[in-house]
């Protein structure tokens, strides 16, 4: 039957079907952004909350109608930055080892190994954090961390979760450095470390930065693993790394099931979601800017 169909028509049908799929995906994304923005902005335009009080208020106590998102914003940024700081040296270090020192070990053994970590579901990391890392923190710090829950435990769990992301992307970045650069450096008499430090890392810098940003995106948006270990206290500002705290994602998970649809609390939660959405758009923008700058630098 298909053979009898005029070619032009067949081609148009193909274009139509596949184009429809792409349009559907794009439409869903646009709907999502529109809906989150609409619900999130209702807090300010209909319920009349002052945006400055919302973004800089230090107390989130829905029972008293106090909606200050700063504790969660600070919590989200703290766990993101801290977990990146933990994971970064280890990730770049292992990427250098498996690309520059032992390439065949890297490809055959290390890569499948680290990819196993990617597959572990986020709740399983949460269970591990809740029962193992929190107890460890409690044992190490004693009375300073009565439950063990807090920004430090959250960051440790996240660091393990983003380690494979940053490592595999850094490996790709280092592998993409042309071999002539290395040979040129060796020909000048440089040692392997000098070559890596002054030549390879420098020319891979834009891609390495992209790897780090993608890791941070994952850390910022990670939900259940963090929610299970961080303690879930959004009433007031976290005072230290060992105090129970909360993040935007954790507050959403805990709050959304209790909020009555249409209430101020419900809209305030959507505003938190709007911050999350805006941040992930910012991360994408940064990645694009780095990519454009890298393309310009390499001609």
């Amino acid at each position: 039957m298909a053979n009898l169909m005029p070619k032009r028509r067949l081609e148009n049908i193909g274009l139509g079907i596949t184009g429809f799929c792409v349009a559907l995906v794009a439409l869903v994304v646009v709907t999502l952004i529109f809906m989150v923005a609409q619900q999130g902005l209702t807090t300010f335009f209909v319920d009349g909350l002052n945006p400055i009080d919302f973004f800089f208020g230090q107390n989130w106590i829905p029972e008293q109608e106090r909606y200050g998102a700063l504790p969660m914003i600070v919590g989200s940024f703290a766990v993101t930055l801290l977990s990146t700081a933990f994971a970064l040296p280890v990730a770049i270090g292992s990427a250098i080892f498996v690309v520059e020192v032992a390439p065949s070990f890297g490809r055959r053994i290390f890569q499948p190994f680290i990819e196993l970590l990617v597959g572990i579901p986020s709740v399983v990391y949460g269970v591990l954090g809740l029962y193992v890392i929190n107890s460890l923190i409690k044992a190490i710090f004693g009375d300073a961390a009565p439950t063990g829950a807090g920004i430090l435990s959250g960051s440790l769990v996240l660091a393990i979760m983003i380690l494979p992301t940053i490592t595999t992307l850094s490996m790709d970045a280092l592998r993409a450095v042309p071999n002539q650069y290395r040979e040129g450096s060796y020909a000048l008499g440089c040692t392997r470390w000098q070559t890596t430090w002054h030549v390879v890392l420098k020319s891979a810098l834009p891609s390495l930065m992209t790897a780090v940003i993608l890791g941070m995106t994952r850390a910022f948006g990670e939900t259940l693993a963090v929610q299970m270990v961080i303690g879930g206290v959004e009433r007031s500002m976290p005072m230290g790394l060992l105090d129970p705290a909360s993040t935007l994602t954790a507050a959403l998970t805990a709050g959304l099931s209790n909020a009555v649809s249409g209430s101020v609390y419900y809209h305030a939660l959507w505003s938190l979601g709007m911050i999350l959405l805006a941040m992930s758009l910012v991360f994408i923008l940064i990645i694009h800017l780095i990519g454009r700058k890298g393309a310009k630098a390499n001609g």
């Binding site: 799929c21 792409v22 952004i33 809906m35 970590l117 380690l163 959403l252 959304l256």
Partner: protein, 309 residues
């Protein structure tokens, strides 16, 4: 003259010794780091598998409902996880396939295409809880599906599409240029080329990608809590009424997957729930690892069959 030359070579020697030892120290530090990472991976996986193995291997744990009095099990959650995964794949594979084909074969180089690419990229970096929130309003309320397997599967689809589109795109682009050119030169249209030449050639990579993404979907929980629900479903496997909330195949009933069940038990602990959590975590991790192994095996098997013919 001679002493000056001597002094220079001494300085050079010192420099060479310094950069040599620097190189050795750096290599040593890197080796230690990699060793620690490997150790960490093994320790994490072994700990989870061993910690819950006792419970997971208890007879009845996999085949009893959660409310069994002697051995509370995870039969319903297991069923819901696999069923929801199946529904998700049925929805997401055709859409991803179409989108990937469009982006590789048809996409004109204009702003529409780059907007579509940006949309997919946005989807891939969205926090899963935001997808869950959106689903809880759009699929559950606006489309009127209620808290249901279908709403959950659609939320998972949003999470799955960017991963699938990227792998299928990669698989299609990896087909040698000469095959495409040959098919086009024979007078096939682009659509015929794609269906008859490119897709079969890319099939092993596509299947591997689908199974790998299934592993990701299987463990996702945040997007499901508010779309498919978190209350353990009561199922009646003898039910023949497809609209009954206890019929396992009804896509409009609430469901609770393994991952959501773990989350619920840790946030509302009851007596003895810790052991169930570990047992469920072990089962969940074992399933995900099985998906990984299966993906590699299937890919190898398919490509061997294709190249042998």
């Amino acid at each position: 003259m001679a002493s000056e030359k001597n002094g220079r070579s001494v300085a050079l020697d010192a420099h060479v010794r310094r950069i040599d030892s620097q190189d050795k120290v750096a290599t040593g530090v890197l080796t230690v780091i990699v060793g620690l990472v490997m150790l960490l991976v093994v320790a994490i996986i072994a700990y989870i598998l061993v910690r819950g193995a006792g419970r997971a291997l208890t007879p009845g744990f996999l085949t009893n409902p959660y409310n069994d009095e002697a051995v509370p099990g995870i039969l319903y959650q297991l069923w819901d996880s696999f069923y929801m995964l199946l529904v998700t794949l049925i929805i997401s594979v055709p859409i991803s396939l179409g989108a990937a084909i469009f982006l590789v074969e048809y996409a004109p180089d204009n702003w529409v295409t780059s907007a579509a690419k940006t949309a997919i990229e946005t989807l891939s970096s969205l926090p899963s809880i935001v997808v869950g929130m959106f689903g809880s309003l759009f699929f559950v309320v606006t489309l009127g599906w209620g808290i249901s397997i279908l709403a959950g599967a659609c939320a998972l689809t949003m999470f799955n599409i960017p991963i699938l589109v990227r792998t299928i795109q990669q698989a299609l682009e990896d087909v040698p240029r000469s095959q495409r050119d040959a098919a086009l030169a024979m007078g096939l249209t682009r659509w015929e080329t794609t269906i008859n030449v490119l897709l079969p050639a890319a099939m092993p990579a596509i299947v591997t990608g689908i199974v790998l993404s299934a592993g990701r979907v299987f463990g996702e929980a945040a997007a499901l809590i508010f779309t498919a629900g978190s209350a353990p479903a009561r199922l009646n496997f003898a039910s023949v009424n497809f609209l009954s909330p206890t019929n396992p195949f009804n896509i409009f009933r609430p469901a609770c997957s393994l991952a959501v069940y773990i989350w619920r038990l840790t946030s509302e602990p009851t007596a003895g729930s810790t052991e169930i959590v570990w047992g469920t975590a072990t089962v969940l991790l074992a399933c995900v690892l099985l998906f990984n192994v299966l993906a590699r095996l299937l890919g190898k098997l398919l490509s061997r069959r294709l190249t042998a013919e």
